[in-house]
């Protein structure tokens, strides 16, 4: 709605910033119209940086501090319906408090972009990272991605707007950032210039779905059983189309900005000849990569597959990537009490995805790093050793192992 000429972002710069700051800068680069905020750690760092950027004149937006997370997400939902580009976010139980608004945002096909600063759910009160907060929307029509670095946070936020606002998709997008490790750690980040961003990201145009006096429509009706299934089917199709739009947008991203992985959905690390593959999401990547490099030095054929997009889940690509290994260790920074094998959420998704394979690799679940507990290189070694034992003996002694938990 508002476009301001600013002196900032005229040229590409390199900045030392945290993941939260990177997301805030992405908001400025995307010239977001309406931003709502309500403080909760670790997400609140984003609102601090956004308000500073606005105060510095980096961009203009309506910055609304709501009286609760529920209102925060309601406001962006409505703003998005009238055609505003929006941003908000939360963490832990704050995200849960907004859940009603979060649910209807997807139901109404509104391309809100949110940052989830992953945080353990209360009780007990804890600031550290767990992925259960963001995972709560996995079935609701939200696209859901995890990033590993501040650079990726900035890039993913820009990609999020491009994909969410694509008329073939029109679904909300949550960018998940591990609390502390990403939200509060600064790294060198390439901040692109505004012109490039504008080339990559067209203005949000809701077209005939926009609430506007010149386009008299009503949205969000009450319906009966004779309508709902068709509506759910439409949302499902939108998510299916997102599977095509994401690679298309990512190819464009790489063309305009000159960086990016081969795949938008996953990152493959030393996977080519890997017999044992670890799988995980978010900042876990760092200790895992270090551990793998050391093991490779010892001749162990170990690789790492980082899932970037949890929704939509790149089933075929992941199946392809894992079809040749012998054993898989999924490291979940989440829990799912009472789930199949009492495994983590990612583990169970992955096990389901691999089921159709003719020769299935052994797959084991590891719960690690809950509540912000650091995942150490030695923990990764333990995971690999456990998977190796299963591969050597052909027997999975225990499908689920909690790593580095005091007995």
């Amino acid at each position: 709605m508002t476009t301001t000429e600013t002196k900032l972002f005229q040229t590409e710069t390199e900045e030392l910033i945290s993941g939260s700051e990177a997301i805030a800068i992405a908001c400025a680069l995307a010239d977001v119209d309406v931003i709502t905020a309500y403080p909760i750690r670790p997400y609140d760092t984003v609102m601090q940086y956004v308000s500073k950027l606005k105060a510095d004149g980096a961009f203009d937006c309506d910055f609304i501090v709501a009286e609760s997370e529920h209102s925060q997400f309601e406001i962006v939902k409505h703003a998005s319906a009238v055609g505003a580009r929006t941003f908000c976010g939360s963490s832990g139980v704050g995200w849960f408090y907004a859940m009603e608004a979060i649910t209807v945002t997807a139901g109404l096909r509104l391309p809100v972009v949110a940052m989830v600063g992953n945080r353990a759910l209360d009780d007990p009160g804890a600031f550290g990272v767990e992925h259960n907060d963001a995972l709560a929307v996995r079935d609701l029509g939200w696209m859901l991605a995890w990033v590993a670095t501040a650079q990726e946070a900035l890039d993913m936020a820009l990609l999020a707007y491009r994909v969410a606002e694509d008329p073939r998709v029109f679904l909300p997008f949550a960018v998940s950032c591990d609390g502390s490790f990403l939200t509060h750690s600064q790294a060198l980040v390439k901040v692109p210039d505004m012109k490039k961003v504008q080339r990559f990201l067209p203005p949000y145009n809701r077209g005939k779905m926009q609430l506007h006096p010149d386009n008299p429509i009503t949205i969000a009706p009450q319906v009966n059983e004779d309508w709902l299934m068709e509506i759910r089917r439409q949302t499902n199709e939108a998510m299916l189309r997102a599977m095509e739009v994401i690679p298309e947008a990512y190819a464009d991203f790489k063309r305009v900005f000159g960086r990016g992985d081969p795949s938008p959905f996953i990152e493959e690390y030393m996977m080519d000849d890997a017999e044992i593959v670890l799988v995980g999401m978010g900042t876990l990547a760092m200790p895992v990569r270090v551990a793998i490099r050391r093991m490779r030095e010892q001749g162990k054929k170990v690789g790492f597959l980082r899932v970037k997009f949890f929704r939509p889940f790149a089933t075929e690509e992941i199946k392809q990537a894992l079809s040749h290994c012998k054993g898989i260790g999924v490291i979940d920074r989440d829990y799912s009490y009472g789930s199949p094998s009492f495994g983590g959420v990612l583990y169970n998704e992955l096990r389901a995805a691999l089921y159709p394979l003719e020769s299935r690799p052994l797959i084991l679940s590891f719960i690690a790093g809950l509540g912000g507990r650091e995942v150490m290189v030695r923990d990764v070694n333990e995971v690999v050793d456990t998977v190796q034992r299963a591969v050597d003996t052909g027997v999975i002694e225990k499908e689920n192992t909690w790593i580095a938990v005091r007995e």
Binding site: G107, R109, L110, M209, I217, N224, D226, E230, I231
Partner: protein, 384 residues
């Protein structure tokens, strides 16, 4: 006997408790004979909305397996008996889900029976009911239609009388003895038991032959598939209206073609165009925008969209200019203003006859709107 199904078609709020009492008593009575049954309301209905046609069902079977067989189809496809507790619904019903207009005999089996509470004669009701190719029977329990509120129940024996009649028209369901035992067991007093027995003795059935009845084609529409529906839960607004019935003057709003509410109506406004002072209040206050503004600045209620709420009557400042009249008196949804234009004298006569009958007749309550309303009505009813 396999399975016997009964539906009770009732109006939301006003008759919710009545319908529930009937279906529950059926199951209790069947239990007396060692049968098994279930009673439930159609979930897609919205019985907590004034006057909306809704349904309750009672299904009775000899064995749990037979019952399950029947319940595998949640929405009954056919019933042995249809009980209609408001005769105005003989014109057809549209539930809150707005599936289009359903004839009252839609689910009644070939050779089955419709029991209606009514002051009308059978022939007059047959005129209202949509014709069909299978025969059925019509039985009338002569009664003023029983309306009450959501939290109060008018114990005027309508339930007992209908249940007595039901035992007669559908002997394979339960015997009168079992029904009486069930009524007593539920704590109904002996006067109600007598009402049930009398109704059993007196009820008669009038066979309705194929092709008899209203020739109106019930309003219907096609539900679109997901590929055709607009995305994002968008519903297009309706265009602005124009001149009265295609003319230059006056005003007529455009109305939603798939959203007609008239079967919710149990009374309709009758307008005296000669005393109307054109104050606009009825037009302004109607919650359903059902008044069309005529070229001469009068207000003609469109009977496809009027749900009979009576707000127009309540806000009209001229005494007797708008009178709410029992819907049972009407056989069409035609324009009153056009009839008046054509022949003011006959219109006046028609209107006067209707309104006088209405004012002199038994009260047709829209529920109880103030504390003590129930007591007032009971006092008026006298001993019966």
């Amino acid at each position: 006997m396999a399975t016997v199904a009964v539906e009770v078609v009732y109006r939301g709020i006003y008759q919710k408790t009545l319908a529930r009492n009937i279906v529950r008593s059926i199951v209790f009575a069947a239990r007396k004979e060692g049968k098994i049954g279930t009673a439930f309301g159609r979930y897609g209905d919205s019985p907590e909305r004034n006057g909306i046609p809704a349904k309750q069902f009672a299904i009775v079977a000899d064995s749990p397996e037979e019952l399950e067989e029947n319940l595998a189809v949640y929405q009954a496809q056919e019933v042995d008996v249809t009980i209609n507790v408001d005769d105005t619904m003989c014109k057809g019903i549209e539930s809150w889900a707005w599936y289009g207009l359903e004839p009252i005999n839609k689910l009644t089996k070939s050779g089955g029976t419709i029991i209606v509470t009514s002051r009308q004669q059978a022939d007059a009701l047959v005129e209202d009911i949509h014709q069909r190719s299978e025969p059925y029977n019509l039985a009338i329990v002569p009664a003023t239609v029983s309306f009450s509120g959501l939290w109060v129940y008018k114990d005027d024996h309508t339930d007992a009388r209908l249940l007595g009649a039901l035992c007669k028209v559908c002997p394979q369901l339960v015997s009168l003895e079992s029904m009486v035992a069930a009524l007593r067991e539920q704590g109904m007093n002996e006067l109600k038991v007598v009402s049930a027995q009398k109704s059993y003795d007196r009820i008669t059935q009038r066979p309705v032959e194929p092709g008899e009845g209203s020739t109106e084609i019930p309003f219907s529409f096609e539900l679109p598939g997901w590929k055709k529906m607009e995305e994002g839960l968008v519903i297009r607004g309706i265009a602005q209206g124009g001149g009265f019935r295609g003319g230059e003057l006056g005003y007529e709003p455009v109305r939603n073609e798939t959203f007609k509410k008239w079967s919710t109506r149990s009374m309709r406004p009758v307008v005296n165009f000669e005393t109307c002072i054109k104050c606009t209040l009825c037009w302004l206050q109607c919650p359903d925008t059902c008044f069309d503004v005529t070229p001469d600045g009068l207000y003609d209620a469109n009977m496809e969209s009027c749900c009979g709420c009576g707000v127009c009557d309540a806000v009209c400042p001229v005494p007797n200019c708008i009178t709410m009249v029992n819907e049972a008196e009407f056989n069409d949804n035609n324009s009153q203003w056009e009839a008046w234009q054509k022949d003011p004298a006959s219109y006046k006569q028609w209107m006067t006859t209707l309104t006088e009958k209405q004012n002199a007749g038994e009260e047709r309550s829209h529920g109880f709107h103030h504390v003590g309303g129930y007591a007032e009505q009971i006092a008026k009813m006298g001993d019966s």
